[in-house]
């Protein structure tokens, strides 16, 4: 049996280790670049050709990034904007998609099925395709260049996925459990919080992760809808860094900015990998 199983493996053991180690090195190399570049001293970060290893450890690039030498809106404020918009959109998406999902699954009303399918149909059209009229709508209601506007846009475009993800866990719950809670004197909303929400928790966490990552990393809409540097989120802030101040591009500070943008995502992924991966598989396959 062992010989059969080993024959099912596409490559022999030693080769497998060599291939995977080299590939892992290749995949991790860009992470090494951003890390080493951002902890070099600003002078070393500008060296040509670049040094392979940082000669000394320095917070210099981060200091330059955060001290805002060039006036105008600083990176700290833009980091704050990103946190505000991403966390806000995440919370709003969770609350609204849980409520909507509960309504669609448990509190049927006339036309609810039609509305449910209309909601899912929005999957078919990504927001890049509607950005021009979306800009006009936001412009009309005074929400361009407004963090609340960006938060609402991100919420809107993550809602269908959240509803879709949680639909399965809500539908899988036997209605008798909910009914028992109702008979025991729970109100409908309390029944939802006490009985349905615990079942939906994995879906809620996956939805939260997806919304957070999507909002944190989103570039296109933020680039278009935010026109004032003090309203930029991190990806657009990187764009400002890359266009340089007074014609010189500070690559050390830019890579420090990239590091600040990447680190929260990696941290969250490492902590909550199970939910992220699970949600991705559910979302794609069901």
């Amino acid at each position: 049996m062992t010989s059969l199983q080993s024959s099912l493996r596409p490559v022999p053991r030693a080769a497998w280790w060599i291939i995977n180690t080299s590939l892992a090195a290749l995949v991790l190399y860009p992470f090494w670049v951003v890390l080493s570049q951002s902890i070099k001293s600003p002078a070393e970060a500008a060296a040509a050709p670049p040094t392979l290893f940082p000669g000394s450890f320095s917070w210099g690039n981060f200091a330059k990034l955060f001290t805002n030498e060039n006036g105008g809106a600083g990176f700290i404020q833009q980091l704050g904007n990103s946190v505000l918009v991403s966390v806000g959109a995440t919370l709003l998406t969770i609350v609204l998609s849980t409520l909507a999902c509960y309504g669609f699954a448990r509190l049927r009303f006339r036309g609810s099925n039609l509305l449910f399918f209309a909601t899912l149909a929005t999957f078919m059209i990504p927001f890049q395709a509607v950005i021009t009229p979306l800009y006009l709508v936001l412009h009309q209601i005074g929400l361009t260049n407004n963090l609340l506007g960006l938060m609402l846009v991100y919420t809107t475009f993550n809602l269908p996925f959240g509803i879709f993800l949680m639909r399965n866990s809500f539908a899988a719950l036997p209605s008798s459990i909910e009914e028992a809670a109702l008979v025991d004197g729970c109100g409908v909303l309390r029944a939802m919080v006490r009985v349905l929400l615990p079942v939906a928790i994995p879906g809620v966490i996956s939805t939260a992760l997806f919304t957070f990552f999507a909002s944190w990393n989103e570039f296109f809409a933020a680039l278009i809808l935010m026109t004032d540097q003090s309203k930029y989120t991190l990806p657009v802030a990187l764009n400002v860094l890359s266009s340089g101040t007074f014609g010189t591009l500070d690559w050390g500070a830019l890579q420090a900015g990239v590091a600040v943008t990447i680190v929260p995502c990696i941290g969250i992924y490492v902590l909550l990998q199970k939910y992220y991966v699970g949600g991705m598989l559910t979302g794609a396959m069901k």
Binding site: L115, T119, T122, P126, Q128, L234, Q255, L281
Partner: protein, 319 residues
């Protein structure tokens, strides 16, 4: 329906009005209040979707029939924007480039995804660790990844170029963003780095659904490794492959961030994608009507891709 009946018993036919009357009334109010509550809890989500999605879609179709500058007079021109689109050399070139990018990216991602998925298929902790490493770039945003790779490949100061120079494969002064092929190549490399992990993950779960006994039986019957892959794994993997195909086609057709950040559409506007062109028309030229028409065309193409996806999903459900 079931939830209505539990609240109260149906009124009997026994003709004792005083007892069944109350439950009947209670049942009705409970069921209407339930559906009223349903409409209520669904409405916040629907209001957002209406204002920021359905309304823009309708508005887009209307805008596309007008000359619509950001400031100034709006005038109805019928299908003028659409006929202009098919004569707009810049748009046609952007559409052509987007198609080329999609044709390069899609098979490359599929092949690399399948290779990675087969590699990490071995049971054990090591293969789970490698899987996590390969997936890591997926959580990095396109903007961060773009600026990172932009730096890595910069002439003179780029660390990746430096490594390749040390290995004798390049020269410090090479400007990869200066020619079309190398600029596109470096963007593709970045996207593979960032996306292949996701393809691997989805393929891996597809592979796991294939029973090991099937392969073992084929091996006992004398099938070679290539035959097992060709005649057993590949056909059973088809629904997953089809799904990934649709994902990467849709993703590539919408490409913007990577080209805006890494090539700025250059050299000589050769790497401007469809979405990039729409961005320039709508938000640099402020021809919102024409931008809406181009967006509508893009939306139709993507709706077709999505329809294909649904068809694939439905077929795989029946299997």
């Amino acid at each position: 329906m079931a939830h209505n009946t539990i609240v109260t018993a149906r009124p009997g036919k026994s003709g004792r009005p005083s007892v069944p009357m109350r439950p009947l009334k209670r049942r009705r109010t409970l069921s209407t209040s339930r559906s009223r509550l349903g409409a209520m809890v669904v409405s916040p989500a629907l209001i957002l979707l209406t204002v920021f999605f359905f309304l823009p879609v309708v508005l887009m179709l209307w805008m596309s029939l007008n000359r619509w500058p950001l400031l100034g007079k709006i005038s109805f021109i019928g299908l003028g924007n659409y006929s202009a689109a098919f004569q707009d050399q810049d748009f046609l070139r952007a559409a052509g480039f987007t198609l080329l990018y999609t044709l390069i990216m899609t098979p490359m991602l599929l092949v690399i995804g399948v290779a990675l998925a087969l590699l990490i298929r071995r049971p054990g902790k090591a293969s789970r660790v490698f899987q996590s490493i390969y997936f890591l770039p997926v959580v990095v945003g396109f903007a961060a990844a773009g600026y990172l790779w932009l730096f890595m490949a910069q002439p003179n100061i780029g660390p990746m170029l430096d490594l390749l120079t040390r290995a004798g494969l390049a020269s410090h002064s090479d400007n990869w963003f200066g020619t079309f092929a190398t600029a596109l190549g470096i963007v593709c490399a970045m996207v593979v780095w960032k996306v292949a992990g996701m393809q691997m993950l989805l393929l891996n779960s597809g592979l796991q659904s294939i029973p090991v006994e099937l392969e073992e039986a084929a091996r006992i019957d004398g099938a070679t490794r290539t035959q097992v892959f060709r005649y057993i794994i590949l056909p059973l993997l088809r629904p997953t492959l089809a799904l990934l195909l649709v994902f990467s086609v849709a993703g590539s057709l919408l490409a913007f961030d990577q080209f805006y950040i890494m090539t700025s559409g250059g050299p000589a506007n050769q790497t401007i994608t469809a979405v990039y062109h729409i961005y320039r028309v709508s938000f640099q030229g402020f021809q919102l009507g024409y931008g809406a028409a181009l967006s509508a065309l893009l939306m139709i193409v993507l709706a077709i891709v999505s329809a294909v996806q649904m068809l694939i999903l439905r077929n795989s459900d029946h299997n």
